[in-house]
């Protein structure tokens, strides 16, 4: 199963490595990790997405709570939360497929942010599933480079 954790942590040096170390040490997966400062200067927010069986996901939550630099852990339910991700992707094109590529971007709500003679850079922000799908569709054109932010999540209510 998938576990989405929204974690508030002290904004201090070494905290990210502590959290990453916890996952590494105990053999938990990190599918994605996004970190940023919140509206409070001394608090950072992390969204960590992991997969594992029920016991593993429960243990992750407990071990996150055990960390003294972790202020709050919330486990987000996929149906009751909003998850978004942003991706920058550089794709090759030629005269034959240029039009279909532009059309695909348009259909998927992606924005072309840079164009060169051979490649374009496209930006998309959407749910992780859509971002994944979009990347899949671009494979046939030839992907040069991908940068993803990782998922950020928030409960709806």
């Amino acid at each position: 199963m998938k576990g989405i954790f929204s974690v508030l942590v002290e904004n201090r040096s070494g905290v990210l490595s502590q959290i990453a170390g916890l996952f590494a040490r105990r053999g938990y997966n990190i599918d994605s990790l996004a970190v940023g400062e919140t509206d409070k200067h001394d608090v950072s927010s992390m969204t960590i997405v992991s997969t594992g069986d029920q016991r593993t996901i429960d243990q992750i939550e407990k071990h996150l709570n055990k960390k003294l630099d972790v202020i709050k852990v919330r486990r987000l339910d996929e149906t009751k939360s909003i998850s978004l991700e942003m991706m920058l992707i550089k794709v090759l094109y030629n005269n034959q497929n240029r039009a279909s590529l532009i059309e695909l971007c348009s259909v998927m709500g992606a924005r072309i942010v840079h164009v060169t003679a051979k490649s374009i850079v496209v930006e998309i922000h959407n749910t992780p599933d859509v971002v994944e799908e979009f990347m899949g569709l671009l494979r046939t054109y030839g992907i040069v480079e991908v940068q993803r932010t990782g998922t950020i999540s928030m409960s709806k209510g």
């Binding site: 070494g14 170390g21 040490r25 003294l68 630099d69």
Partner: protein, 541 residues
């Protein structure tokens, strides 16, 4: 204004610390200069930093308060890591103060620089790198709070040399309160869970308590004992839980696990309700936890919620401090009749045949531990090392009203001698005996100097079988007796070694000699070593 080093000493005084264990070096020299002017804090110079950590561990376990060890930077600090890992695995509250290179040199790989926060990340409950001397009072206050509350454990404070020399910009004031927003240990058990626990006990026909090290760490022995007696609930213990009750207690059915008593394991297998109290349910105690949860209800009580559900999914989890929980359980309305169940357990105990055969050539290790612990004073402290000696000790130790100290989590060889030094310094009036094998002895024998210099009248009993016995046993069973790298031979000459440190030396090489030699050994006023020769053919199972 005082400097950082003086502030560190003031913090220790404010915490009531009057003894610390360590080895100085240049990076911690300002602190030792401050210490020089404060003879009210006794510094015990050990001979290797790991021993400072183990001695502090023994001291902490007996005083039941955090104990302090100090090292310099680089190799001095890294030498401490095994002791920190040992304390962490056994949840022993330690404050480790390490010197560090000057702040502006951090990260430059200068002489004797080691990233101690990084290196100890998975072996401490929390760690600090002090960046400003003004933070020292707050950091020390927090460190002692963190080490001694919730699930206790070691806390590291890494202090760069320049910070120790830096003057505080305001007058020293030790904070009265602590506020760490990410740390609020859950002390009081949840009321609803508590009600479920009581209901489950009332439903049970064959309840059994499994007492772990957490019972002792949480000062809960007396309450657990009272609870068992009041409701006639039998108990078994893990190795770290030895000491919850006396061995002769009618409700005690021994240590469980693959090194434990077969009748203790039969008790677990036949119970219908198992109350695990302050135990990790680790592999040596419960090899196949998944079988357990199928066959019986499990109540798991622990201060650390992450321990619950780690190995098995308990029917009823209950997080909280053992004292709070058992005080409440003692007040609870519990009415069960366990008469038949206890009869059944007594029958297990009587009919379980111990198939192990111990060699009576030289000294029989089972007889040795039994005789030694029976002869020891009621309140004595027995410090068992790691290896076959530990398993024979745990299996045969006759617990009365004393303490049984060992490292069950990390299993660090060489623990017993430095830990016994700490224990004896904490309780000078109590008899303290370190029991180790000849392998473990040689991992800490340099500490004989600390014993001699400080005139610590503790007793060291060495079971000499001339092998790293537990590995030998493993090689015998698993690798067709291909003994590889395990033979120690008869060295050292213990009598010469004892003489080198002004210690008395006793020796038994037969069961007949044992009685008299043990009497002389235990009654000697000074520190003493006793060597007991054991046949290397003796195994633990």
């Amino acid at each position: 204004m005082i400097n950082g080093a003086e502030a560190m000493v003031e913090c220790l005084k404010a915490e009531g610390i009057n003894r610390i264990f360590g080895i100085p070096g240049v990076a911690i020299a300002p602190f030792y200069e401050a210490l020089y002017h404060h003879p009210e804090i006794t510094h015990v110079l050990v001979r290797q930093e790991q021993a400072a950590g183990h001695a502090a561990s023994g001291y902490a376990r007996i005083t039941r308060k955090p104990a302090v060890c100090v090292t310099s930077s680089g190799p001095g600090a890294t030498n401490l890591i095994t002791a920190l890992a040992t304390a962490y695995a056994d949840s022993i509250p330690l404050i480790a103060i390490t010197g560090q290179v000057d702040s502006q040199l951090l990260g430059h790989d200068v002489f004797q620089e080691a990233d101690m926060r990084g290196a100890t990340e998975s072996f401490v409950k929390y760690s600090y790198l002090v960046r400003n001397a003004n933070d020292i009072p707050r950091i020390f206050r927090e460190a002692f709070h963190i080490a001694s509350t919730g699930r206790t454990g070691p806390v590291l404070i890494d202090v760069p040399c320049d910070i120790q020399k830096m003057e505080l910009s305001k007058a020293f004031a030790y904070p009265e309160t602590v506020n760490i927003r990410g740390y609020k240990p859950n002390i009081i058990g949840n009321g609803q869970q508590m009600a479920k626990v009581i209901a489950a006990i009332n439903r049970a026909k064959k309840p059994l308590i499994c007492a772990g090290g957490g019972v002792i760490l949480g000062n809960g022995e007396k309450l657990v004992r009272e609870f068992c007696e009041k409701n006639q609930i039998p108990l078994v213990s893990t190795m770290m839980g030895i000491g919850t009750v006396a061995k002769a207690h009618p409700l005690y059915f021994g240590m469980l696990g693959n090194n434990g008593k077969p009748y203790a394991n039969r008790a677990v297998a036949n119970a219908d309700l198992l109350m695990i109290v302050g135990a990790r349910v680790a592999d040596r105690a419960v090899p196949r936890p998944e079988n357990l949860e199928k066959s019986l209800s499990v109540i798991h009580i622990d201060i650390d919620s992450a321990e619950i559900g780690k190995m098995l999914g308990p029917t009823i989890p209950l997080v909280g401090d053992i004292r709070h929980i058992f005080e409440a359980l003692l007040q609870a309305d519990i009415h069960i009749d366990t008469g038949k169940w206890i009869e059944e357990l007594e029958n297990f105990k009587k009919t379980t045949v111990d198939h192990r055969v111990f060699s009576d050539r030289l000294v029989n290790p089972m007889t040795l531990v039994q005789t030694l612990s029976e002869k020891m004073e009621d309140t004595a402290i027995y410090v068992a090392d790691v290896g076959q000696n530990q398993l024979w000790s745990a299996d045969n130790y006759v617990m009365k009203d004393g303490r049984f100290l060992t490292t069950g989590g990390m299993g660090t060889m060489g623990y017993s001698i430095p830990a016994a030094i700490g224990a004896k310094m904490a309780e000078p009036d109590k008899q303290v005996v370190a029991v180790c094998g000849d392998g473990a002895f040689q991992m800490s024998m340099f500490e004989l100097a600390t014993i001699a210099v400080n005139k610590v009248p503790l007793k060291i009993l060495v079971m000499r079988n001339q092998y790293l016995g537990l590995v030998r046993e493993h090689q015998e069973k698993v690798y067709q007796s291909h003994y590889s790298g395990v033979e120690l031979h008869a060295y050292p000459h213990y009598e010469d070694l004892a003489r080198a440190y002004d210690m008395a030396c006793f020796h038994a090489s037969s069961n007949e000699e044992l009685d008299g030699e043990l009497d002389r050994f235990l009654s000697s006023k000074e520190a003493a070593i006793m060597v007991c020769d054991i046949d290397s053919a003796n195994n633990t199972k």
